[in-house]
Each structure stands twice: as structure tokens, then as C-alpha cells.
Amino acid sequence: MNELKSEIFVKDRQLVIPGETLAKGLDFLPSSGCYRVNNELKSKLLGLVKLKDRFIGIIPLAGVYIPKTGDGVIGLVEDMQTTIWIVDINSPYDAILPLSEAVGEYVDLNKTDISIYYDINDLIYAKVLNVSKSKQVQLTMNDHRARKLIGGRVLTITPSKVPRLIGKQGSMIELIKNKTKCQIIVGQNGVVWIKGEREGLAAKAILTIESESHITGLTDKITAMLEKGE
């Protein structure tokens, strides 16, 4: 029989570049960021290998945000129509927030202007309700964390570095929150909202994490930086 031996060439968390062969044979399955060609699994992104059972995936080092159902995102209201808001979510695709998903009460459209709920240039934290195949993104405010964000400042980081900013079980972001006494909300789309007295320090820490995300011992460095203050 035609017995093909499967073989894996990479280890967990190894840096790979596009076109690099990750594994051979049919015993491994391509997860995100990989493709199969003639019995070989290859990477299509620059990133780190993620191994899980038989699945091989790539955690990208860069790239734009592609919305996924269930993601919490921070967006800026760009436009308003009769019953929808159009929201810029730092992605190639604009999102739509329908009135029914935004407001819990009955709204008489003849009498009310919907800008009393959300106006153009408002910042909102919303949840992605659904992403259609043609990349139409629907948001919802039907979530206990969803709200309008008033005041504060906004930073944008590379979306693929959001997990690093949050840390294991939220350790990194909690550290910054505790040390600076700021309110911080991180959207999966790489937009970060900060409000509090020491916004500047928090912003500096977040930007440091973004630019030095690939070094080890980053938590200690951030702790030292926050202890020292400005």
C-alpha cells in the first residue's frame, strides 16, 4: 500500500516565514495561517507556530483585524442612517450597528432623532454579533460590557499583539490598571481606550508592550517602568 510517513519539522512557538514547510504527510491538519500543497503543510504568514494535537496553526506577528463573531471591539461612529449606525472598527470592513441591537426600548422614528443614542464621532465598545460571508459585520450593544466611551484617550496597536497586552488571564493589563489607577478597555481590534489620572503613563506602557512584544521578561520591565512613574 501507499504508506505515507508523516513528519513534523517545527516546534511550538518557532518563528516561521511564508513558504516554510511545517510538516509532511496527512496526519497533520492545517489550522489558521497554513495551507496544504502536495502532501506538505506550509505557512502563509510570518508568525509563530502553534501546535495543538494534530492541528498546526500560525500566530501572526502582523496583519489587519478581521472581525470574528463574539469579539469585543472599540469603534468610532462614522455615519448614521435612519435605523443604523456605521462604525469604523479599525478593519478593512466597516461594521453596522442596527437600532434594534443598540436600544432596548421602543423608538418612534417619526419623533426621535437617533443621534440622542449615538452620534457621529462617538466611541463605543460593542460586540460583534455576526459576520456574513460577504464580510458584512453586525455589532450589538446587547452585552453587559458594551457601552459608550466618554472622554479618555485612544491608542491603536497591532491587532495580533492584543493577547500579549492582555497577558495570561489578563495579568498584564491588570498590572497596568492597578499601577496607574486608570480604566482601560482593550478591543480585539487593537484599539485601546484609557481614562484616568495617569493616562500618559498607561499609554507609554502599552506602546512599550507593542514595540517590544517579542522579548522575554517584558512583565518585569513594565513593572519597573510603572513603579518609576513618569
Binding site: P92, R164, I215, T216
Partner: protein, 243 residues
Amino acid sequence: MGKKAKMIINGKRLDGRSLEDFRPITVEVGVLKSAEGSAVFKFGDTYALAAVYGPRTMHPRHLQDPQRAILRCRYSMAPFSTNERVRPGVNRRSVEISKVLNEALSNVVFFEDYPKTGIDVFVEILQADASTRCAGLNAAALALVEAGVPIKDLISSCSVGKVDGEIVLDIGGDEDEFGEVDMATATIGNEDKFVLLQVDGIITKEDFFKLLDLARKGCAEIYERQKNAFKEKYKAGEIDVES
């Protein structure tokens, strides 16, 4: 400079390298802050800078494709890139090169991953000393990877040619002007798949195949250099991220 009586003496070329040597190659990735991906690729005095923006919302809207992304490539030479001033803006040559670069890159990009978007690639030649389209293509491939655009493999490009009756690698300087043949090639990674092949000059069939063989070797070397650029940039440590 006028034409030299002989451009190859005792197997050494004008700049002292042997027939199958590259000029010194410099590769650098992530040089521009505002672009999603950027890279510099130098073949000796040829200096190409590439920047990639996107995938981003495609404007004008009527060019959007609901099934796939659109790649737009722009090649241009800086006014100060050669001895004689280059008139800025689009000209016949830059339109042609933009088109061949676009077609070469289109072979590797996974367009269907980003429907309705546009990916913009800008290739700027800051200093020209022959083989600019090859340097530009190498830089563009690196910038695409840096931008996180999914691609099958890197594109590696080099020029080969015939100077004084000898087959040589990496045409540079006066060889471009006074040589007999100049051929720009590019392959997908180090595979035997050509995505760019332009010949200028008169050539026999035998010589053509010799040039192709040399081009394969050259592109494989460039491929290694491109790979090393990334390995070097991120060698500081492997990222400890939670997925």
C-alpha cells in the same frame, strides 16, 4: 562614462567581482513606521524601498471584488535616482514595470482571504544602478510578508545577462548599458517556477537556457538572504503570546 574596450578581463568584471557573483546585498525589513509593511533591498548601488498598505477598504468602490482582494502595484523612480533627472510621475516604463511586478506578486498572494479589499504596494527606487525591477520586487515581497498578507512563498528576483560574450549574474552599472543581453527573472521561493522573465537583447537558444540555469541559482541565493532578514530581525526572542 563611455564604452570600455573590454568589460570582462581575466574573468573579473568592471567592479572586480567574478562572473557569478552578486554585488553586495543589503536587506532590511520594517523601515517605515506608518506602512503596515516595508522593506529595503539593495544590490550594490541600486536602492529599492517598498511599502505595503492594507488590506484596506478598496476605493474607488466599483473596483471592489466581492470574492477577492485587489492588488495594486506602483513602481516609480525618484527624480534624483539617476545622473540625469527622472521626470516625476507616471511614464511608459513605470507603467510597464508596475504591471509586471503586479503580475509576479499576484502569483503568490491568497486573495480570497480578504474579499472586497485592496492591497497597495509602492516600490520606490531611490538610487538606480541597473536591476531596479529585481530589487524592487524583492523588497515588495518582503514588505508583503511584514504586512501580514498571506502569501504562498517569497518571491526572489535577480538579473542575469551576457556581457562580452560571457554569461554573468546580476547586471550592474555599465553592463546594463553596454552589455549584449539583460534578463530580469524572478522565481517563487527557490522553486523552479518563474514569475518574471523579461529579456532585452539578441540571444541564442543555448545561451537562453544557460541564463535560466544561472538565474535559478541566483534566485535561490536571494531567497536565503530574504529569509535571513526575518530570522535576524526577530531573533531577540520568541514571543510568549497566549492564543
